[in-house]
């Protein structure tokens, strides 16, 4: 859900690549309705890339076709990628500028330096 297009000169800045150094997988109750609802709000190719970046892409197809609701196995894989895998330490990398954003204690740091901010307006 994060973009780096806040950086001056970066227009799209999405999806950010993930270089994880520490990952945790926690147990979260499976809620198929949540997964189906969330899927309508996200960019699936970006999730697919992110899940593979962190080495948890298993069970995820490159594209989603057909009725997801009926496919419990797929829903469980999506549940895992969306909710159970957490990058604790690592970095996000802007696909355009290569700018790196550290992730520490599970929190991405998207703050910019003064000279990276576009002050010329929208």
């Amino acid at each position: 859900m994060l973009t780096s297009n806040i950086i001056k000169g970066v227009t799209k800045g999405f999806p950010l690549a993930i270089n994880p150094t520490k990952i945790e997988v926690k147990e979260v109750d499976f809620n198929p309705a949540f997964v189906v609802k969330t899927l309508t709000k996200i960019d699936y190719p970006a999730l697919y890339q992110a899940a593979n970046d962190v080495g948890h892409g298993e069970g995820l197809p490159e594209n989603i076709e057909g009725d997801v609701k009926e496919n419990e196995e797929l829903l469980k894989s999506l549940h895992n990628a969306l909710l159970q895998v957490e990058v604790i330490e690592g970095e996000l990398v802007c696909p355009e500028s290569g700018r790196k954003f550290p992730i520490s204690n599970g929190i991405p740091n998207m703050l910019l330096l003064e000279n990276e901010i576009d002050n010329t307006g929208q």
Partner: protein, 223 residues
């Protein structure tokens, strides 16, 4: 469903943590109370994505997560690292999960969350101060609002229209000095109607919670 309206426990390790993070006060509690009062409207939105900008201790987004429930993704931002860390800890302590991001306002999220935020919370730095006290980090960033206490709020208001989903609701904490009538006019220009969900006097501050929904929104307020 017992205790969903309970005030969240805070995730700080010791009282000194509040030297660097805004400690919940009357403004935070008024927002909690008004979210509770507006619970039926919140549920009518059937939220999928919620976002709090400037989450501080995390008490508000955690409370929202308690009363709205688990089938929702909760994002929150703060410009203060200690604040986002405490937000995460507060949510965790209450058995909730939030997605914290260290950034200015909603900068890093606003492109991807365009038109998707169903509930948006902002308890901005609203205290009237000289402009040069408006801070970028630390505890000052939690309260110093500059001229009319509006300098940070005014940076964020133009972004609300692009963030909010068609039925979404935006809750904003203000004091009288922020000139709520002027904010109403400004937001009308972006296609929103305003309702004051509740007000309370706390010491020198006359606090209000303003709620904005699109003119076209069905969520209305015969409360």
């Amino acid at each position: 469903m017992d205790g969903i309206f309970k005030t969240p426990m805070l995730g700080n390790q010791d009282p000194a943590d509040f030297d660097a993070v805004y400690e919940p006060a009357e403004d935070s509690f008024l927002l909690l109370d008004m979210l509770e009062k507006d619970h039926a409207n919140l549920m009518a939105i059937n939220p999928c994505i919620c976002l709090e900008v400037g989450s501080g201790s995390g008490i508000c987004i955690t409370f929202l997560a308690q009363i709205v429930g688990r089938s929702v993704t909760y994002f929150c931002t703060d410009i203060n690292l200690k604040a986002v860390e405490m937000t995460k800890a507060t949510a965790h302590k209450n058995g909730r999960s939030v997605e914290p991001v260290l950034c200015n306002l909603a900068d890093a999220l606003e492109h991807r969350l365009e038109g998707k935020v169903d509930v948006l919370l902002f308890n901005p730095p609203y205290v009237v101060t000289p402009s040069d006290e408006v801070a970028c980090d630390g505890i000052e960033a939690s309260w110093a609002g500059g001229i009319k206490g509006r300098e940070v709020t005014d940076k964020f208001l133009p972004k609300v229209a692009s963030l909010l989903s068609p039925e979404g609701a935006f809750y904003l904490v203000v004091i009288k000095e922020n000139d709520p009538d002027d904010i109403e006019e400004l937001m009308k220009g972006y296609g929103f109607r305003m309702k004051c969900v509740g007000s309370r006097r706390a010491g020198r501050e006359f606090l209000s919670i303003l709620r904005f929904t699109r003119q076209s929104s069905r969520v209305d307020t015969p409360l």
